[in-house]
Amino acid sequence: MATITKSIGTTSRDFSTITLWEADLDDDPTYDSGDIAIGECYDDSAFDESVDLNGGQTIGLASATLTVASAERHDGTDGTGARIVRTTFSDLFLLKISESKIFVEWLECDQNQETGGAAGATCNGAESAGQTAMNWRHLIVHGTRFTSSQSIGIIANVNDAATHNVLNCIVYDVDSPGNRDALGIHTPSNRTTNIYNNTVHDLHTNSVGDPAHCLSVIESGSFALKNNIGTDPVNDGSGGAACYSDSNYTTTDASHNLASDTSASGTGSLDSKAAADQFVSTTVGSEDFHLKSGADAIDAGTDLGTTPTGVNFDIDNRDRDAEGDIWDMGADEFVAAAAPTGPRAGTLPLLGVGK
């Protein structure tokens, strides 16, 4: 069993798009059964594509992970690392996982407010028979707009016995121009799904019959909903809006969640907490969902240890468990910073560019 890493980007990499890497998972003679395939994205330019991740099953890969090279990852805000930015109308998701053992992490997925038709979710974890272990981790998802269906940031819509995870993701700016549901993270499945340490902000719809929910769980399976932040869902129609789809889950293991309204449920949850009191910035176009000093979410989470894999790493890749942190709610683990010394103007000469 080998780990095969391929680089993805537009400056002298192995593959120039995610699609071209994914299309090769079953055919590259370098892969053998049992191998682990890693596609490592680089911030050479924005990717602009819709990718259905389901390769590697024929050859029998142990897993396939779409990730970002460590030096090319975002800093928890948009435009700062490897990213997919949709620049044209499309009916499609940006990323879809529709097969077993495929993991997606560290990418920014910006639908750029390009109004899509169907598809429903910017990041779509779709139902597939025999699918096992789907994971979305450390993503920034925003600009979601779908007109012919629900408008969803991340959906975990699985139908198999394995456990599926949405961990340490930031989702914001989800709008439903078709006046349907506007959902940040949504799991309608009837299987086991963990939704841990995510931050969801700013949902909007104008629906009469459907709601805006930051975190949406359809209680027909086994779910855990812990350490999440949900703020500012808005419905200008009469379909309702709430940070959490149910303020009194009966079968969902919900605790230590924060809401800007009164819908946060479970032990240790916090209600009626303003987004402005939690985050560095809610300015549209310059959002920063890191926690600021004094935020209610600080030290208000529950310690989840290291299971599932990756849960302990926050949106900045800080290991809460190794650092001995008292867990915060949301994707960011607050760290008190040293007093800023202020920026310096650039003094470095330009090399190779300029007249």
């Binding site: 537009t10 120039s16 299309a23 928890g76 948009d78 435009g79 310059s286 920063d288 800023p340 003094t347």
Partner: protein
């Protein structure tokens, strides 16, 4: 001037000749402009602002929705570049366009400057950055390329080809064809979807469109193309394909 990337040999999810990617002229000029205008070419770095004179700033100025300007220690001004309207934002939340918005300005700037990929221009305590929706239409890209050709030695005419990866040229086949717009580009790589339930679209087939490349590429090239350890790049030597003549559609539901 456009390129299509074809699947070679059938696999579990694709068939031989499926169009995997469609790069029209806009895609190609956009990717090269991003390379030239990348902030990492614009001087600065962790704790150091980017060079305001670099074309990186032109990229943002022409393609982004907002420009943010720090006006003092605790306030910024957000300028909507389409109409130059302005709003002032501070740590005190206020309702703008129906949304409560605020910013802890010194903390925001410090957070960004701590990252090697930051996009902060301006001067100390008068920082400038950009955000919001991105517009990389041909009209905007023309403005960017005008700036590039004014400020640098780069010329758009020298950047006609998609920057294929080394494994791209081994695993797949790049062909050239007449140009097409973004709607056609999306159609060329579209899947076949079952939309019986629009809330749960099911992919029947990952690609509807394909090219019988063996009919279009000289026989002498076929062996190397099919060989998964040989790199093949025919874009400079092949006769440009007429897209409407060669692109075919697979019958619905037939895998």
């Amino acid at each position: 001037m456009a390129e299509l990337v074809l699947k070679i040999a059938a696999g579990a999810n694709y068939q031989d000749g499926d169009i995997l990617a469609a790069f029209n002229s806009r895609f190609i000029r956009c990717v090269h402009a991003q390379h030239i205008c990348h902030v990492k070419n614009a001087g600065g770095g962790v704790g150091v602002l980017r060079d305001n004179a670099h074309v990186a700033r032109d990229w943002f100025e022409h393609t982004h929705q907002y420009r943010f300007e720090r006006v003092n220690k605790t306030k910024i001004k957000r300028v909507t570049l389409a109409d130059m309207s302005e709003v002032v934002i501070s740590v005190r939340p206020k309702r703008i366009d129906g949304k409560m918005q605020h910013m802890n300005v010194p903390l925001y700037v410090a957070n960004r400057l701590g990252h090697a990929g930051h996009k902060i221009f301006g001067s100390p305590d008068r920082e400038v950055w950009y955000g919001g929706r991105t517009d990389v239409s041909n009209a905007k890209l023309t403005l960017v390329w005008n700036a590039i050709e004014t400020k640098t030695e780069f010329r758009e005419v020298d950047f006609r080809r998609w920057p294929a990866g080394r494994q791209d040229l081994i695993s797949h086949l790049f062909v050239t064809c007449n140009d097409f717009d973004d709607i056609v580009a999306g159609d060329l790589v579209s899947p076949e979807l079952d939309l019986t339930d629009p809330d749960n679209p099911i992919t029947v087939k990952k690609r509807r469109r394909h090219i019988a490349w063996r009919d279009e590429i000289p026989t002498r090239e076929h062996s190397d193309i099919a060989d998964k350890i040989v790199s093949v790049d025919l874009r400079e030597t092949m006769t440009e394909l007429v897209r409407d003549d060669v692109v075919r559609t697979r019958a619905f539901g037939i895998v």
